[in-house]
Symmetry: C2
Subunit: 629 residues, 2 copies
């Protein structure tokens, strides 16, 4: 028996979740080991070369505010950025970047390799070592063991991975990597419930074989964006993406070949993603649609490989060629890598606490695609939370639980641990009930203080945040204190600004609430200073959306009160009379921390919640009585 | 049956040989397909991150002169260069570069992806399609077929690959890649003889865990070198390497663990490399040596991974840790990737013609590690020759055969096809009998004209070569035409130059032949122009080594005469009386093209050659007699 090292935290997997987990734990002072099946796949993007987008972009900004890495590295390595949905309200504005796939990997590898307290190793983990459901180490393929106080599973799609292309199927991880064949059985020995999901990716095609004159160019924004509140990148060499469409011909070919699709031939075991479905599922599910959007996206500055977004498939290669060639601009397409699907083992995420620790295995955490999610950003966000909580556990400190009103990260994790998922889960703005306050633009205001408290926010980041927060407050205070009155001089200014004249005296703040007025105009006509654009944006949103925001804050308040009503850990739901059978079983399985969480479990009705509330009230009285006696 | 494309040349494998092969064929105007198991391993360096060195550096320069790519890309991506052996004669000067592994791969991938006439595809080839021992296509794992006029095997160590680390063994290619499991049986169906070789690589270790103060720094040369005669790079950010040594303690640990070494436990089937042996073989074979040199080499600008040159091993990981930690500066070493060995299928190279085409399978060529060689440069050189000859075959033109006096490429290929090899073959200066004329500094003078003739040398390269060649000739002519006489003025110059005074009138050329005189001195004191340094170097070598060179040229002449004596293709050696049994068998197997080649076959004696010569003379007379009749 060879013990090759001892750590506080061991992270199994160095994808997007594993890297964030390891960086967080190491930065919090824990001796950390980051493992991977192959050092050359650290933070590799096996699917689309892109970071962000609706809700996902929010996750990246939140991650960044908490001291995560994805935003910084995406800023450094992206080859295009766009702010999406700018025609809609600020809640759904979303930053999306095209990544240079190789460069993103190289940069994250460099980051983790240079992180103090962090060792990076290529070892294939085969077994979790645990005693009495408490972890103490890992055993790897080459025979050595490492001792540890906590472990984070971040194995992505590698557990029992199976690759499928048409009639071909073989054991393997994504992108030609080795799969991990034995770890699942070690998890089963710990009584962890395993599920089987699948995901897929489209072909990569040769840029030289495309006719872009038949597609619509999608350039990056002229304005230079950054994910990270720390980044100060002001120029970026951008490459365009290209928009094209499927058509009836495409759909016909796919329909004619459905009998050869692995999902029908039965080769696929796993459940596929609803929100990133294969083209064959789209054709089946949206039979009446006669065109689907396709984005042709570059994979890097130094390659001709282009990603065909929207065309994920595991149909046989001849069918892939046939249907791609029906698409405008792709008539002579040459495939460089075929599309494929991957089937893999993941866990039932309701087995986890909101800290992402397993309820029944002490010191074992789980993050990323293994928890049934899909997406780099979802993975990274969970990785950060798991890394933080593993470190807090090791340090004997209180765990960090982000609520649904703290951010999308809270929504994501609460959904996973409370509702679970029976198909690959993806974050969406519609999942967040407090959308209006969970904006990508205010992630720093929401979360930097939390990140600072746990020790992940650097002085530089914190100073930047404090400065921004204080400027916003000062500016709002100033606007709320300056009254303007309907003097002729002021009325002339109103005219100049193209807004109706004043009837009474109002505060500048109220002036700003008018739709047609922005802060720059006010600053031009009145004695208030120009602001940094990020500050100005917050000031404007505060003023313009005040009504909605305060209403939402009230809802948050109400929800928080329910979340504060903690349920006793040892409560025996099976004995609690009055609960519906389903509620009883679900509550017993999920073991929610609070009334709030209990209410979000599907199958638990408001009536069940009332019974729980009554039970709690009775218990409180009983306990008080005991205390007094 | 789905035919996905038709090509003139298909290259199976995109390692160092496959890339050169495909580029050459495409540049010669052939529609070419370059295939790979994974696009992310194109021109990947699975072993040491370095290009060049003794004899290997010669290959790179020769490759470059012929229009190959390795030199240009190594120049662009290297992180250190040194000219080795500068203390010795110019024949063994050798340029060696440390490569940035990721960057080398990315750059070569970019090169092949942008080459006109060349398609690059990730497909795993499973079958060679042939009829009557003539190839016409390939079939790949995903089911599609490609038709072609010729095929180049360049599969490296992937055929039936098996990875071995101590007691662990599993099917796989190098660096965590998939192996090709089925292609070997397709080769066997074509009656190709397969052998099994092995090679190994050391652990990669974390730079941060090393104590460089206990090692000797090996910086790059201050002078900026380039492999390519085209490159004009004049600045390069260089990283140092580090020298350290094994010691008795190291050796003791290895000796104590030999019973766990795969080569003794029998897990390894293949024959390992004599000239790049594992540390365990070194300890056994050089039992009296009490220290071996180790070079610690950076793998890239953006990584902390360091390569431990000299420490290739497949011992179990605990032993790897134990012996590495005995080494000065490595006491606290952390392994990032373990050392491992790989067993793989290769072919008996005597089945090939000097064009690298199989004698018995028309249109099937073979290049690189599959031919039993080891080393990137050896692979690249063969790839170029196979690519050229496949293209020439398709175009119906005469093949290109480089002789042993044309260059190390000729030596390498002649060794392979004439002598064969029963262990991984490596090029060395000692293998070249015409070393003095096969210098790295004159590769362009030797080969550019040949490259031009076959259409691989661009106008730019050719113009540069012509200019250099003409300058050398002019300069030599000038030096040979200017006579200096023992006038007092001249004698004073002799004194100033620190050389003995003249006794008679001599040519400047003869003055240059004096050891203590260099061209710059002559140019300073007499009316001859200063020269470009590369030209000057040639002029000096021509003068100073004239005697040796002309002697060697005579030998070349003699050898060439034997190589010109072509043996009839249909000669039946088994019937040829007088030949020794071994010679008869060998000749029948190798089927040499000429008396020269026959003489280099091991087992064919001078007596056998005499018999062959007599037979040829008799045949000539007979044929003449028939002609006259
Ligand atoms: C084919 C494919 C298609 C996809 N399509 C989409 C899509 O359309 N939309 C979308 O949002 N997302 C998609 N994804 C998902 C996205 O790639 C993942 O969600 C994201 O990469 C998950 O990150 P992760 O950190 O959880 O795991 P990964 O990025 O997969 O990383 C897993 C890591 O774990 C390591 N590992 C695994 N097992 C072991 C072990 N036993 N020992 C040591 N190391 C181990 C691996 O080496 C790797 O480093 C797709 C993924 C694949 C493979
Ligand atoms: C572990 C290890 C240690 C080594 N140690 C040394 C050393 O110490 N010294 C030294 O000089 N050299 C060493 N080498 C050898 C050196 O790496 C090779 O000589 C060189 O890379 C060979 O180049 P190649 O082009 O022949 O093959 P490779 O570089 O191996 O490339 C082979 C290519 O073929 C492709 N391929 C294979 N089969 C198929 C198929 N069926 N279909 C499609 N594509 C296919 C692969 O994807 C790959 O692109 C080592 C190699 C390994 C793996």
């Amino acid at each position: 028996m060879f013990i090759a090292g001892e750590y506080d935290v061991i992270v199994i997997g160095s994808g997007h979740s594993g890297c964030e987990a390891a960086l967080a734990a190491a930065r919090m002072g824990c001796q950390t080991l980051l493992t991977t099946i192959n050092l050359d796949n650290i933070a590799f993007m096996p699917c689309n070369p892109s970071v962000g987008g609706p809700a996902k972009g929010h996750l990246v900004r939140e991650l960044d505010a908490l001291g995560g890495q994805m935003g910084i590295n995406a800023d450094k390595t992206s080859l295009q950025m766009r702010m999406l949905n700018t025609g809609k309200g600020p809640a759904v504005h979303a930053l999306r970047a095209q990544a240079d796939k190789d460069l993103y990997h190289i940069t994250m590898k460099e980051t983790v390799e240079n992180q103090p307290n962090l060792d990076v190793k290529q070892v294939l983990v085969e077994r979790i070592l645990a005693k009495d459901q408490k972890v103490y180490g890992i055993e790897v393929e080459t025979g050595e063991m490492y001792y540890t106080k906590s472990i984070i599973l971040a194995t992505g799609t590698y557990l029992g991975g199976k690759i499928i292309i048409g009639e071909l199927a073989y054991k393997g991880g994504p992108n030609g990597q080795r799969a991990a064949e034995n770890l699942t059985s070690s998890l089963k020995e710990l009584n962890i419930r395993i599920m089987r999901f699948k995901t897929g990716t489209p072909a990569r095609v040769d840029k030289r074989s495309l006719d872009f004159s038949k597609m619509i160019e999608q350039p990056g924004d002229e304005e230079v964006h950054n994910f990270s509140f720390l980044s100060e990148i002001t120029t970026r060499k951008q490459l365009p993406c290209w928009l094209t469409y499927t058509n009836e011909k495409t759909h016909e070919i796919i329909r004619n070949n459905l009998h050869r699709a692995p999902m029908y031939t039965g080769i696929v075991e796993g459940v596929g993603p609803r929100y990133c479905p294969s083209i064959e599922s789209k054709i089946v599910r949206f039979a009446d649609k006669n065109a689907h959007q396709l984005f042709i996206e570059p994979e890097g500055h130094h390659t001709n490989e282009m990603y065909v977004q929207g065309m994920s498939t595991s149909l046989p290669i001849d069918v892939q060629y046939e249907f791609l060639r029906t698409i405008a601009g792709m008539e002579n397409v040459k495939i460089m890598r075929p599309g494929y699907a991957i089937d893999y083992d993941c866990i039932d995420s309701t087995q986890l606490k909101p800290t992402l620790e397993f309820k029944t295995v002490q010191g074992l955490f789980s993050a990323g695609q293994i928890n049934g999610t899909s997406g780099y950003e979802e993975a990274a966000a969970q990785g950060l939370v798991a890394g933080i909580n593993a470190a807090l556990l090791v340090k004997g400190q209180e765990p960090l639980i982000l609520s649904r009103s703290d951010g999308y990260i809270g929504v994501l994790i609460d959904d996973l641990v409370t509702k679970g998922t029976n198909e690959p889960y993806r974050i969406m703005t519609s999942r967040a009930e407090f959308r209006l306050i969970l904006r990508q633009d205010n992630a720093d205001l929401r979360l930097t203080e939390i990140g600072r408290k746990i020790g992940l926010v650097s002085d530089e980041r914190y100073a930047k945040f404090v400065c921004k927060r204080d400027s916003i407050e000062e500016s709002l205070k100033l606007l709320r204190s300056v009254m303007i009155t309907p003097t002729p001089e002021i009325q002339a200014k109103m005219q100049a600004m193209g807004t109706v004249e004043l009837r009474t005296g109002i505060m500048l703040y109220d002036l700003l609430r008018r739709t047609e007025i922005n802060y720059n105009m006010i600053s031009e006509h009145f004695d208030v200073p120009l602001l940094d654009s990020a500050v100005q944006q917050q000031v404007e949103i505060s003023a313009k959306y005040e009504g909605y925001i305060s209403k939402q804050l009230e809802q948050v308040e109400r929800a928080a009160r329910l979340d504060e009503k903690l349920l006793p850990k040892d409560i025996d739901y099976m004995q609690l009379s009055g609960l519906a059978v389903e509620a009883r079983e679900k509550l017993n399985e999920i073991r929610p921390l609070s009334i709030g969480q209990a209410g979000r479990i599907s199958g638990v009705s408001p009536a069940d919640i009332s019974i729980l509330m009554i039970y709690m009230e009775q218990k409180r009285r009983r306990d008080e009585a005991i205390d007094l006696s």
